[in-house]
């Protein structure tokens, strides 16, 4: 246990450093983009005069390092600043959108993770049979379709043809839980198609990888049934890669769903980040970029810790 704690604290430290560097990179990156918020907000109607006025008002005329310093100071005090484009507090802009992103990710995960593991085990169990090939090809096809395409197909069948689900996943704060779930079922389903395949294949591969070990042969020689061997002997030992692939996919569900957000008009964080990059709305880019990085880092850390805990060798090292 002590090992795990040391590792966690080490990784946490490294993560904090990474986050700091990322914030600098985001800052420099956006700073290097041609144009700024004044020009992009004003678009074609930007005349030098209005742009200058806009800039002065937003303190964009100060040198970058001073602005970064001010931003960092505020950030540490829990103040994410205000959007340059519309003056709203960033925390307010981001808050419910991040909640939405998490909501969609979690709903998807709740469907996809058990499904993927179940299918993965089945495929490993029936490996190289017709059934395995069937699941394999099906999931492969799902990986192979671009996700916007899956989305369109689902919409045109389930929404336009059969009219079971709404084609827009517009949710707002006052909606009840069930109507929220109903509203996001279609995007969830799309994402499920996208991530399940990946996780399932990894589960299958991890289990099959373990099946070559001596202790699996031993279990067979002990006369244990095949299904039990898969579930009880192979799966616990393939947890580590499975956990890792789940973490990768969860991270994807949180940071990578811009396209699904666009297609279903879902108010998530990805859309916000893309919009604010386009508008050079630095405080919003900064904050949402950081949140994404933090989510990614956190999930990876969690995966590392969990796979450590799943391994008795590492877990018990204090005894």
């Amino acid at each position: 246990m002590k090992n795990v704690l040391i590792l966690i604290s080490k990784r946490l430290g490294a993560s904090l450093a990474t986050i700091f560097i990322i914030s600098v990179i985001i800052f420099i990156g956006v700073e290097m983009l041609p144009g700024d918020v004044a020009e992009t907000v004003l678009g074609q109607s930007a005349t030098p005069e209005t742009v200058t006025a806009f800039r002065t008002q937003l303190k964009l005329d100060l040198p970058p390092h001073i602005r970064y310093g001010a931003w960092l100071k505020d950030f540490i005090h829990g103040d994410f600043g205000k959007s340059l484009a519309n003056g709203r507090p960033v925390s307010e802009l981001i808050g419910w959108r991040f909640a939405n992103t998490l909501f969609l990710a979690l709903t998807t995960a709740v469907i996809a993770v058990p499904l993927a593991i179940f299918l993965g085990m089945l495929a490993a169990f029936y490996r190289n049979t017709f059934f395995d090939k069937l699941i394999s090809i099906t999931t492969l096809s799902f990986i192979s379709f671009p996700e916007f395409f899956i989305a369109y197909i689902l919409i045109s069948i389930l929404s336009v043809k059969l009219n079971i689900f709404p084609s827009l996943a517009m949710i707002d704060q006052d909606m009840g839980f069930t109507s929220k779930i109903y509203a996001i079922l279609l995007p969830s389903l799309t994402l499920t198609c996208v991530v399940t395949a990946h996780m399932m294949r990894q589960t299958r591969a991890a289990i099959i990888n373990v099946l070559a070990s001596a202790y699996i042969e031993m279990a067979r020689i002990k006369g244990i049934k095949r299904l039990r061997i898969i579930v009880h002997h192979a799966f616990p030992n393939s947890l580590s890669p499975v956990i890792n692939v789940i973490a990768v996919n969860l991270a994807y569900l949180i940071v990578g769903v811009v396209i699904v957000e666009v297609v279903f008009v879902y108010p998530g964080l990805g859309q916000l980040l893309v919009d604010s990059v386009a508008k050079r709305d630095l405080p919003v880019v900064q904050a949402s970029g950081l949140i994404f990085s933090i989510a990614y880092i956190f999930l990876n850390l969690a995966a590392d810790i969990l796979s450590m805990l799943s391994n008795p060798k590492l877990r018990q090292s204090s005894i």
Partner: protein, 272 residues
């Protein structure tokens, strides 16, 4: 090698068939295609006919022709990008594994940072700044993707690096480059090739997604992802034109993966 091919399972053969077909189409595109890549030859969204084998697209170009050139553009782009990403990723991964210490730390932390930033958004940022010309597209995606290759090759190289034949080479006094070229690389090939297949597919899809967001190959060049996007509107009207490029993307990806599966199966050493 031939022997190996003869032993390949039916699924892998199907996969190879698909891939070879695609490559042939890509290479001989101008010979096969009945019309010019960008020429408008018919009405909008015509159905299949003797004149247009797959019908026409949203502005009346022959879909069959576009598919053929699409194969060429998309596959070439994805292939070059994957190659570049592998060159970058695997060699830095090998160097990190073999040198260890500070080199490893510096490379690994850099990669961590790049990976912690959402790929799609990173790509969007870079491409919207530099414009999505083909070279920037290739470089951006290759660099982003090489982080994942780096991780794998570092891990693989770490496994190989502890082998005694590497130690023997070190004891002989061999340099870094020789060790990477002659000791690590040949042994890292199977997992890397398998990964190459997978990454090729991912990049392929990634380019399609970028095209969807308007940052992929620019019109009027045909690319399958862009073709899906351009025609996507049709599907809700019961016109299945976008299914054809999407199907082609899926087919090629499945094909590559079937081969990869067989490869992984071979290298896993499990023979049942």
């Amino acid at each position: 090698m031939l022997n190996l091919l003869r032993q390949s399972p039916i699924s892998a053969r199907i996969g190879m068939g698909i891939v070879i077909l695609n490559i042939l189409v890509a290479v001989f595109a101008p010979l096969i295609a009945p019309y010019g890549e960008t020429s408008v030859v018919g009405d909008v969204w015509e159905t299949f006919s003797g004149k247009f084998y797959l019908g026409t697209d949203h502005i009346g170009r022959d879909l069959f022709t576009r598919m053929i050139y699409g194969a060429r553009n998309t596959i070439a782009l994805a292939f070059i990008t994957t190659m570049l990403s592998f060159l970058l990723g695997s060699f830095s991964g090998f160097i990190a594994a073999v040198k260890g210490g500070w080199t490893d730390q510096a490379l690994s932390r850099t990669v961590d940072i790049v990976m912690a930033f959402p790929t799609l958004i990173f790509a969007l940022m870079i491409l919207s700044v530099l414009g999505s010309s083909i070279p920037t597209l290739i470089f951006t995606i290759a660099i982003l993707d090489s982080t994942r290759v780096y991780r794998l090759s570092r891990a693989v190289a770490m496994d190989i690096e502890v082998m005694e034949f590497v130690e023997a080479a070190r004891l002989r006094g061999e340099g870094l480059w020789w060790i990477i070229r002659h000791e690590i690389l040949p042994n890292a090939m199977p997992p890397l090739i398998a990964e190459f297949g997978l990454r090729f597919c991912f990049i392929f899809l990634f380019i399609a997604c970028l095209s969807f967001l308007g940052l992929g190959l620019q019109p009027p060049l045909a690319d399958w992802g862009g073709m899906v996007r351009e025609n996507a509107g049709a599907i809700t009207f019961g016109i299945f034109v976008p299914l054809i490029p999407a199907g082609a993307i899926a087919l090629l990806t499945v094909g590559v993966n079937l081969i990869v599966d067989w490869f992984l199966h071979l290298s896993s050493g499990l023979h049942d």
